[in-house]
Symmetry: D2
Subunit: 433 residues, 4 copies
C-alpha cells in the first residue's frame, strides 16, 4: 500500500483502530447471544457494551501484546481495562482467536467491496455521461492499430461502460460471497460454543453464517474475491490503454485533463503526458498479482495452517486500496477527458477516403463485378491515395469502370458516414436500456 | 493438452470437426436470418442447409487454406463445394471472420462449461455419499498439522462438498457470462449486417447477443471464465492435499483405491503411493496458470488486436480438458477412497487423551481454579503422557487437585467424544439441507 | 504446443522417439559403467549396443505399457526384444525410473536451450545488421508516447540488441544449470548403484552429475530455467510492441514485411496489419505463464512426489517450442522490417520544431534569462506552432527577446540534429564493441 | 511491506532518507565529473559537498513538493537551501529526473541484494552445521509421502545446502546485473550531458554504466532480478515444507524450537505448531507474486512510459524486505531445529523392517529366483508385517524358501543400514568439498 496511491476511507478500513472495533463488536454481540442462551449472565453481556464508544488504544494493546505474545489476548486484556476484569470474564468464552480474526477479515473485505462498488458506480456514471455526449462523434475504428471502418467515440465509451457494468455485477457477487462469518471453535465443530452465537453475531454484522468452517473460513471465497478484483483491474488497464493510445502525439484524439496553470503545459504544449493512465496500467498489475497467491491460499493442511495469513495481511489492504485509488483516478480521467473530434476526423482522413475501400470493394462485387476485377478497380485508385495523396472518392468518380458499375450516386453514397452510425441508437439502447 | 490427462468428450469440443460444424451453423443460421429480412434470397439460405449432415473434410480445408492463407475463406470455399458455388454466394455476406471465430470460441467454452458442470455434479454426489457414510467417523482435527480437537471424517467431506458446491454456482455464472455471440462486423457497428441476424444466430446457438462488441467479444468475459476455472482447480488441490496427507505412512487414515491385482501392492504393502492426488496437485497448477494471461488478454488495442489469439488457442483447450480430467479423477478418488476409521482413532490417541487437555484446562478455570493453577495441574499430568506414554484421563483421575476441582464424573465427561460431535447434524443440515 | 506456432526441430526434441533414444543411451552407458566396475558382465553391456541404430517402435512400447502400466518397464521389455532377453537382463540394474526420466528431461531441456541459443544468435545478427543500417536514421524519441527529443532508429535497434544479448548470457547460464543428470536410486543414496555410474553416464551425455539428488533432480534448477525463458519472452514482447506502435496508421514509421503478391496489400494499402508482432505479444504470455508453476514445483514432499510431473509434461514442450517459434518469427520480422525514414522525419516535425522547445528553454536559462522569463518566451512561440501550425524556429527568430538572449546563430544551432546524435558512435561502441 | 515481517536494515534501504542521500551522491558526483570536464566551475562542484553530512529533512522536501509537484525539483530546491542557491545552480545540469531515479533504484536493489547475499551465507552456515551434525542420523526416505528406503537427516540438510548454494550463485549474478546506472538524458542520447559523467558517477557508486539506455534503464534487468528472488523464495518454501511435515503430530521427527518458558508449550505438549515455517510458506508467495508483474514491466512504450513505476514502488521494498525476513527466520529455524533421531528410527520401523522389502525382492531375483516366485516369497511375509504387526526379518528367517535362496547371513545383511549410508561421505564431499 503506497500512500500516493491510497485514499483515506479505504485505508481506514485496514487501520488497527477499525480492526479492534470489529473485534469488539464480535465479542460484544457474542456475549449477548450467550446471555440470551443462558450460557453467561446477562449483566456481564451488558457490561461489555460500556466500551461501545471507546476508541481503543493501539499503543496500549501493542504494549500488552509484547508481554502476552498473542494479539487477541492482548486486546481482551485491554478490553477488561475498560469494562472491568470481573465483568469481562466471560468475554470470548468458548471462542478461538480465528473466530474473531477470520470474521473480522471478512467484515473488512465486505466494507472494502462496498467502497469499490461505489467507485464502480461513479465510474459508470462518468462513462455514461461521456458516452452520451460523444454518441455521434465520428472516429475511425481500428483493428491491429490500423484504420478499419468508422465508428463513434460514444461507442468506445459505451463498451467500456458495458464492461464495467459486468464488473459491477461480478463485484456484487464477490462481495456477497465474502460476507460470511464463523464462530465455530478450534476445528469448526461448535464443541465449545452454540451455533446460535454465530448466527446472532453474523446477523448483527451483516454477514451470513459460514455453513461449514474449520478453524477458518474456507479460502475459496477469498480466491474468488481477489480474482474478481483482478478482472476489474484488467478492465481498468483496458480503458487506460485506450486513453494512452489516443493521447500519443501522432494520434491526439484525446488527452488527460491538464489544468491551465499546470507547469510545462504550454511551453512544451506537445509534452502533455498521459501519466495518469500509464500509472493505471501499473496499478492494474499490482491488483492482479494477488490473484495467484490467493488461489494458492485455498489449500490449507487439515483444519487450517497459517500459510495464508501473511499473504492476506499483504493483499487484503494492498489490492483494495490500490483498486479503490485506481477506480477513482480512472473516473476522474474519464470525467475530464479532453476529447478532440476534429483530430478524430483528420486522422480518419489521413489517407483521404481510403477507409472506405473495403465498402467499395464489397459494393462492386455485389453489383456483379467479379472479385478479381473489383480488386483491380479499387487497387488502382487506392494506390493513388496511398502514394500520391489523392482523394479516394474523386479518383473513383473519375474511373469509368467504377462509375459504370456503381454509378455516381452510389459511389457518393459509399462515403456516407451515416451508413456506419445507423445502428448506434440500437447499441446504446442495448447498453443503457 | 496432454493425452494422458484428457477425456474424449471434452477433447472433441476442441477438434477441427467440431469447430467447422459450429462455423457452419453460424453461417447457415445467418443466411436464414438474412433471408427472413429480405437481404438475400430464401432459396440460397435453404440451399446452405443441404450441408447439414456433412462431415467437413479437414484435410481438404487445410489444403485450400494453404492457398488462400485464410482459414474462414478456406472453409467457405469448401462449403461451396458441398452447397454449390452459385447457391453459396450469399454465405457470410456482411460478416467478418471474427463474427464467426469469436462466436464459435464462446460456443466451445459454453459446451466445455456444461461438461465441467456435469463433472462437478458427479463430484458433489460422491462427496455427499461419502460424507454421509462417515458422518460419525471420529478423527482428530488438526491445526498446523498438529492434533487439536476431535472432529469427524464426515465433516471433512461435507466441507469439501460445500466448497465444490460454491464452485458449481461460480461455474454456472461463468458459463452464462461466456455464452454470448456477436455478429457485428469489422468494428462492431453493424454497418454491413443487421443486428437481427446476430439475434437470430445467437438464439439458435443458445447464446445471448453481446450487447456491444467491437470486432471481437470483450475479453473481460473470458478473464472471468478462466479465473473461475482457476478457483475450482485450487479447490481440487485442496481436497487432493488432504488425501495425500491422510495416506502418508505415518498417518494412514485413508488411501487411494488399489485394485487387488495391482502390481506391487502387496509385496510392498506400505508402498501404495497417492499418485492420483499428487497428479491433481500438478493439474491444478496447469489450470491456474491460465488465469493471469487471460487477464492480460483483456486489454486490446482499439477495436481489437490479435495478441489474445495464440493465448486462447492454448488455454481454451488446455484448461478445460485438464480440469475435466482432474474433476473426473478426483470424483473417482473420492468415490473409492479407502477410509480407515481404526487408524483415525489410533492416531487421535497417539498421546493418550492429550487431545482433551485444552478442554480440561478450560473446565478447571470455569470451575473457579485460577488460570495459573489450572495450567500447573494440567501440565504435570500432560507431561506424563507426553514423556512416559501414560493415559491422560487416568493421570487426571489420580490427581487430587483436579479431582477436587472437577469431580470424577466431570473428568470422565471431559473425555466424551459426543461433546465434539453434538452439532454434526446441525452442520450437515446447513450443508445438505 | 500449437502446430502453427511450432518448428519441427524443437518439436522433435519432445517426440517419443527422441525420448526413447535418450532412455536407451542412459541405460547403455550405465551398463558400460557397471561392466567397467565389474558389477555386470562386459558382454552384457556390449550386447546392449546392438540396438544402437534401432528406431524404437513407439506403438509397440505403448502396447506393452498398456499391460505393464509402467512406461520404463515397457521400454525395457521392448529393448529386450531387440537385444535378447538374456543379454538384456542387467539393463537398469540398481536404477530407478526417475534416474532415467529426470536425466532425460534435463537432456531435452539442454538441447532445447541449445536451439534457443542459436535462435538468439540469429536474432542478434539481424538486430545488429539493421541497427548499423539505421544508425543515423533520425526519429523522434518518445516518452509517454509523446514526442521528447530526437534519437535514431539505430539506437532503438541497438538497445534491443543489448537486451537480447543479456538474454543470451542468461540463457547460457540457465542451460548450464539444467545440464545435470542423476542416477542415484530411490532416495538418492546410491544404495544400489555406484556413483561412478552416474559420473560415466553424465560425461557421455554432456551433463554434470547432480551433486546431491533425492529420487529426483532438485527443481530449483527448472524454476530458474523457466524463469529465464519468461524474461526472454518479455523482451520479445518489448520489441514486438515497438513494431506494433511504429506500424499504426498514424505513425507508420515501420511495417512488417508484406510480399508484393500478398492479398489485400494494395487494394487496401492502409490495412497492412502487424499481425506477426501482435502474435508475438500473445506468445510471450504463453511462455511467461509457465514461470509461476515452475516455481511452485520446487517444493516436493520429502524425497519426491509427482506433483511436478504433469506441469512439466506441459510446460517443457510448450514453452521451448513457443519461444523457439517466437524468436524465429521475431528474427524474420526484424530482418525484413520495412523502415520509413521519411515518415520518421515527418512525424518528428508534426509540430514543426516544437520537439526542440526543451533545448531552447535550457539555452535561455543558461544564457542568463530567468526561468520565468525563459518560460514566457518559449511559451508564446510554442503556442503559435501548436495552435496555428507555425514553424518554431521561424517564430523564435522573429522574437526579439529570444534573439537578444541567444543570437540568430545560436537559435539556428538549437535546431541542429547533430547535437542529438553526437554520441551515437560512443553508444554503438559500447553495445557492439 | 508488513512491519512484523520486516527487519530494520533492509527497511532502511527503502526509507526516504536513504533515497535522498543517494540522490545527493549522484548529483554531487555528477557535478564533480562536469567540473573535471570543464562544463561547470570547480568551485560549484566543491560547494555541493558541503551537504555531505546533512541529514535531509523529508518533511521539508515534502512541503516543497506540495508546491512544485515534482519530487526531484523539490529535493534540488532543498539541497540549495543547504548549499546556497547560487553555488547550487549547476546541480543537475543536463540531467533528467530519470537519471537520478533509475540509478537510485538500482543502488537500492544492489544494496538489498548485498543484504540478501549475507542472509543466504548465514543460512548456508546453519544448514552446513546441522548437516554435519546429523550426517549419520538415520531416517526413512519417502517418495509420495510413503516410506521408501533409509537415508540420513544429514543428506536432507545437505541437499537444502546445495539448493541454497545455487541460489547464492544466482543472486550474485542478479546483483551484478542490476548494479548499473544511467545518466543519459531524456531519450538516452547524452545530448545534454557527456557520457563521462555517467561513467564517473557509476564508478563512485559501485555501478557499471548502462551500455545503452533510453530515458530509463532497461527493465529486463529488473525482471531477471525479481525472478531470481522468486526462485529463492520457492526454495525457502521447499525447506519450510519439509519442517512442517516433520513436525506434524504423527511424524514428529523435528520441531521448531520452543523456549522452555514459551506459554502453552507444556500444558499441551502436543500442540507445538510449526508456525514459523507455515509463515515462510506464505512469505514465499509474497515474494513470488512480484515475478510476473516485473516481467510485464519489461515492455515500455518507445523510450519509456511510467507503467512500471507504481509496480516497482511496491515490489522493490516488499520483495526484498520480505525475503530478507524470510531468510533470517529460516536460518533461525534451521539453527535451532529440534531434531528427534529416536522418532526417526521409530517411524522407519513403524512396519518393522518392511522398508527393506524392495531390497529383499531384488536380492532374491539376483540369487536366481524367478521374479514371480520372489514376489510370492516377499509378499507372504510382508503381509504378516502389514496386517499382524510381525517383524519382517524374523518372518523371512522363518521362511524356508527365502532362507534356501539367500541364506541366513545374507538375509541379516539385507537389514544392514550401512548399505544405505555407504555413500554419504561421497555425497557430502560433493556438496561441501
Amino acid at each position: 500500500m503506497i500512500p500516493r496511491y491510497s485514499r483515506p476511507e479505504m485505508v481506514s478500513i485496514w487501520s488497527p483502530q477499525t480492526k479492534f472495533k470489529i473485534w469488539y463488536e464480535i465479542e460484544a454481540h457474542a456475549c449477548d447471544a450467550m446471555a440470551d442462551l443462558g450460557v453467561i449472565p446477562r449483566e456481564n453481556a451488558d457490561a461489555v457494551w460500556k466500551a461501545k464508544d471507546v476508541e481503543f488504544d493501539v499503543d496500549r494493546i501493542d504494549e500488552i501484546e509484547a508481554v502476552t505474545k498473542h494479539d487477541v489476548i492482548a486486546f481482551l486484556t485491554h478490553l477488561a481495562e475498560h469494562v472491568g476484569s470481573d465483568e469481562a470474564r466471560f468475554v470470548h468464552q468458548g471462542m478461538t482467536s480465528s473466530d474473531v480474526l477470520d470474521t473480522t477479515f471478512n467484515v473488512q473485505l465486505t466494507r472494502a467491496a462496498d467502497l469499490l462498488i461505489a467507485d464502480l458506480e461513479a465510474l459508470l456514471a462518468a462513462l455514461k455521461r461521456r458516452a452520451i455526449e460523444h454518441k455521434d462523434t465520428i472516429r475511425v475504428g481500428r483493428s491491429h492499430g490500423i484504420h478499419a471502418e468508422p465508428t463513434t467515440m460514444g461507442l468506445t465509451l459505451a463498451r467500456f461502460y458495458a464492461e464495467m457494468d459486468r464488473n459491477l455485477t461480478r463485484l456484487r457477487t464477490a462481495r456477497d460471497e465474502i460476507a460470511t462469518g464463523a464462530i465455530s471453535g478450534a476445528v469448526g465443530t461448535f464443541a465449545n460454543i452454540d451455533p446460535r452465537v454465530e448466527e446472532h453475531v453474523c446477523a448483527k454484522l451483516g454477514l451470513t453464517p459460514e455453513p461449514i468452517s474449520t478453524q477458518v473460513i474456507p479460502r475459496d471465497r477469498h480466491a474468488a474475491f481477489f480474482a474478481t478484483l483482478g478482472v476489474i483491474a484488467s478492465s481498468v488497464e483496458n480503458i487506460a490503454t485506450e486513453v494512452r493510445h489516443m493521447q500519443r502525439t501522432e494520434v491526439l484524439e484525446a488527452a488527460e485533463y491538464f489544468s491551465a496553470g499546470q507547469k510545462g503545459s504550454s511551453a512544451m504544449p506537445h509534452k502533455k503526458n498521459p501519466v495518469l493512465t500509464e500509472n493505471l496500467t501499473g496499478l492494474a498489475r499490482i491488483v492482479r498479482m494477488a490473484v495467484v497467491p490467493a488461489m494458492e491460499n485455498v489449500t490449507l493442511w487439515h483444519e487450517r495452517d497459517i500459510s495464508h495469513s501473511s499473504v492476506e495481511r499483504t493483499i487484503g489492504p494492498d489490492t483494495t486500496v490500490t483498486l479503490d485509488f485506481a477506480l477513482a483516478r480512472l473516473t476522474s480521467v474519464i470525467d475530464k477527458l479532453l476529447i478532440y473530434p476534429d483530430n478524430m476526423l483528420a486522422n480518419m482522413n489521413k489517407f483521404s477516403g481510403l477507409v472506405m475501400s473495403q465498402r467499395v470493394l464489397l459494393a462492386l462485387t455485389q453489383a456483379g463485378v467479379s472479385r478479381e476485377d473489383a480488386y483491380v478497380y479499387v487497387q488502382r485508385n487506392a494506390m493513388k491515395v496511398w502514394e500520391d495523396g489523392k482523394d479516394f472518392k474523386t479518383e473513383l468518380l473519375g474511373d469509368s469502370d467504377v462509375v459504370a458499375a456503381l454509378g455516381v450516386e452510389s459511389i457518393e453514397e459509399k462515403f456516407d458516414l451515416g451508413y456506419h452510425t445507423k445502428h448506434v441508437d440500437t447499441i446504446f439502447k442495448r447498453v443503457f436500456g
